[in-house]
């Protein structure tokens, strides 16, 4: 008889034990996979929030701009370069921006604001800005109006149709001032943007800051995270000093670290869980072996090779683990897929705690393959370790004593 068949029959000699052991693996896999899915889901939400609402995956900047964000560290983007970047495979959209800090004044009040000159059509392709307009309208190319965040608008007591004065420092220290009608009010899911962002047409911004044709950054979007390294490589060959390329993770090292620390925490927790499960399997294996000492001794006595016996015992553990892993995977795919399509919304103080972290108040799930295959790999390693016990025990089995026992 083939050894897998023997092993399969052996594990069903004590159904209850096999099922309980498999259930512990099942439970561990489901739990670890759901938790990983929630973690990865929230990370991609956090990354999306900065990447898709603001920074983009990649930016082309003047090389000193990141360390010293002044309007003097701007550059003129040539049409040929802009065309070449747009043609890079994987790049889905690009958008030029001229960004600086200015004072925004209504009739009565003044507040500092981040003023961003955009190409309305390109910007919409990158950040979907039009979607977040709650009052008024979006900008059209050459527009003389501005868009502002709802919190900033209510602070300044202005609404659509009112006029706002922007006052700042222009290119090479000239003073910049201009009057603009409010065309639309937006509300992003993240309050820090609503408090301080003002958008206007790129041409208007260049006039305001006395910086014709100059931009602070060219935002480059790729389809997702995974396309970024290739696009970056292609960009690096196109961009030479005095320009440079920055990716979102270089621009947001804090976020990268926060995710890394959280991911480490999750890994430690999963490690604890799996160690416990491994001990559970080990317990079962010890029992299986103790119970069958005599039977194994008889097998050896009648001429079965020890190696073959060890192989059968190993297969038994593998089968039990497989039972748990397969059902666990099926269960976790079901749970994660459901929550991926039906994310859980958070309300109240919990929501406030989320937005303070710069995250949309949603428990997002991820269906990244690694969420699932990591569990399989982990269980596989556990099985390898646990199966050392019966192998060593079989090898050391003293047949005469065992026969008598």
């Amino acid at each position: 008889m083939k050894s897998p068949v023997i092993a399969w029959r052996n594990i069903w000699r004590n159904k209850r034990r096999t099922l309980i052991t498999a259930a512990s693996v099942f439970f561990g896999v489901i739990f670890a996979a759901v938790m990983s899915s929630m973690q990865e889901g929230s990370y991609s939400k956090m990354i999306d929030n900065v990447v898709k609402f603001y920074s983009g995956y990649l930016q082309v900047q003047q090389e000193d701009y990141w360390e010293n964000k002044t309007i003097n560290n701007t550059f003129v983007l040539s049409d040929s370069l802009s065309g070449a970047i747009a043609r890079i495979p994987g790049v889905t959209a690009t958008a030029p921006r001229l960004e600086s800090f200015a004072l925004a004044s209504s009739d009565e009040l003044t507040k500092g604001a981040v003023v961003i000159g955009i190409d309305p059509e390109a910007e919409h392709r990158v950040t979907n800005l039009e979607r977040w307009i709650i009052r008024g309208r979006y900008l059209h190319p050459g527009d003389s109006g501005i868009l502002m965040g709802d919190e900033l608008a209510s602070y300044l007591h202005v609404d659509v149709g009112d006029t706002l004065v922007l006052l700042g420092m222009g290119y090479h220290g000239v003073s910049a001032a201009g009057k603009y009608p409010v065309a639309g009010i937006f509300r992003y899911p993240m309050p820090q943007f609503n408090r301080q962002f003002i958008y206007l047409d790129l041409k208007q911004a260049q006039e305001l800051y006395w910086a014709p044709h100059r931009i602070t950054s060219l935002v480059v979007m790729v389809r997702d995270h995974y396309q970024m390294p290739a696009a970056r490589q292609a960009l690096d060959t196109l961009i030479h000093p005095p320009l440079r390329v920055m990716s979102w993770d270089e621009m947001q090292p804090e976020l990268v670290q926060l995710i890394a620390s959280d991911r480490l925490g999750g890994k430690i927790f999963k490690a604890i869980l799996y160690v416990i499960i491994a001990f559970g399997i080990l317990g079962t294996v010890i029992m299986m072996f103790a119970e069958r000492r005599r039977e194994l001794a008889v097998m050896i006595a009648i001429g079965t090779q020890k190696r073959l016996l060890a192989w059968i015992l190993f297969l038994e553990i593998v089968f039990i683990a497989l039972l748990g892993v397969i059902t666990g995977l099926a269960g976790s795919v079901a749970v994660n897929t459901w929550f991926y399509h039906h994310p859980i919304r958070v309300a109240g103080e919990a929501a406030k705690a989320f937005t303070d972290m710069g995250i949309e108040p949603v428990y997002a799930f991820s269906l990244m393959p690694s969420v699932f295959y990591n569990q399989v790999i982990t269980v596989f390693i556990l099985v390898m370790l646990v199966s050392l016990y019966p192998m060593i025990k079989t090898a050391c089995l003293k047949v005469p004593q065992a026969l008598r026992g």
Partner: protein, 405 residues
Amino acid sequence: MLIAISWRNIWRNKLRSLVVIIAITLGIMAGVFSTAFMKGMMVQRLETAIRSEISNLQVHDSLFRITGELKYFIPKGMALAGSIDTLEHVRGTAPRIIVQAMISSAEAGSGVSVLGIEPEREKKVTDIIDHLEEGQYLEGVRRNPILISRKLADKLNLHLRSRVVLTLQDLDRNLTADAFRVAGIYRTTNTSYDEVHVFVRYDDLLRLTALPDGAVHEIAVRTDDDRFTPAVQQAIRHLAPRLEVLTWEQISPELRYIVAAMDQYMYLFIAIILLALLFGIINTMLMVILERRKEIGMLLAIGMSRLRVFGMILLETVMLTMAGGIVGIVGGILVSKYFEVHYIDLSMFGKGLEQWGYNSLVHTRIDPALVVTVTLMVIFTGIVAALYPAWKAIRYDPAEALRTE
């Protein structure tokens, strides 16, 4: 008697019992330690919020917090702060002028909240002085000293003694500006707070904003201990019935929420560990009663009541679980105690954690309530794990069980 029997029974198969006990020990130890770790991190966040940012209580004009406008000041705030100082259990009061302004270096600008403070009184309320990295606390510069954070200094390329210009709207809505010189650079563990808060002398800001003498926007109050906060709140309300007097919890309810949510999360964490352990315990106990079928049959045959047999198995399981549980709890407490004095260094994630206000050097914190709850949870797990095997045991038919080999 039953206890002694059960305890001896556990050690009849040392290896098997040890595997279960070790698994429980590891799981509980990890659970207790992780909880102490998370608790420590949260408590530190809370303490930073009270010591460096919010203080125990804040007094404002009832419209100031919503609008942030300069005109909603407390007219005789200085005098009020003086009388609050004489209240019982008040450690110190810090009257402040708060105004939104644009801070600009030679090249770049940013929006900040400027706090006009009285250094001597502020030192009794906030611990910013302990977080000075360079220079002094609004001293060492003769005219218009300003204290800025490391984060802002890096952003605007500023150094000690650098000149900055604050541009703001005064009480008569005129745009005014004045030059300040960096007297000190501070850095708390919350870089998001740091980035938008700068400190200048009360008198300098009073002159610049054209506010009347003695006007303040905020009086921050530190109490001797947070448990006196509600009493002090009442006393201040009595002194100034028209003003808004809020505790830190009312100002930032999400802080309390995060602590509470983290507590729940950690109990869930321990519950999941126990659930994983449950499978192993049930399996072991099932094995135990199967092995001792004959013996249990004998006990029943010689007249031991089923209730006592049930009790014996139950006790055996609970004691087995508790043996691991106690070692785990004690071990977890010892490790946590060690890190209460020393600290866990997470500075590899420092930037990320500090952006969200968490200290990267974490001191663990053992909550006595946690120890009690975990002990109860372990006992409960033992009981649940015992139910099925004990039920199986008392359903043995003595006559049949006696006949087993």
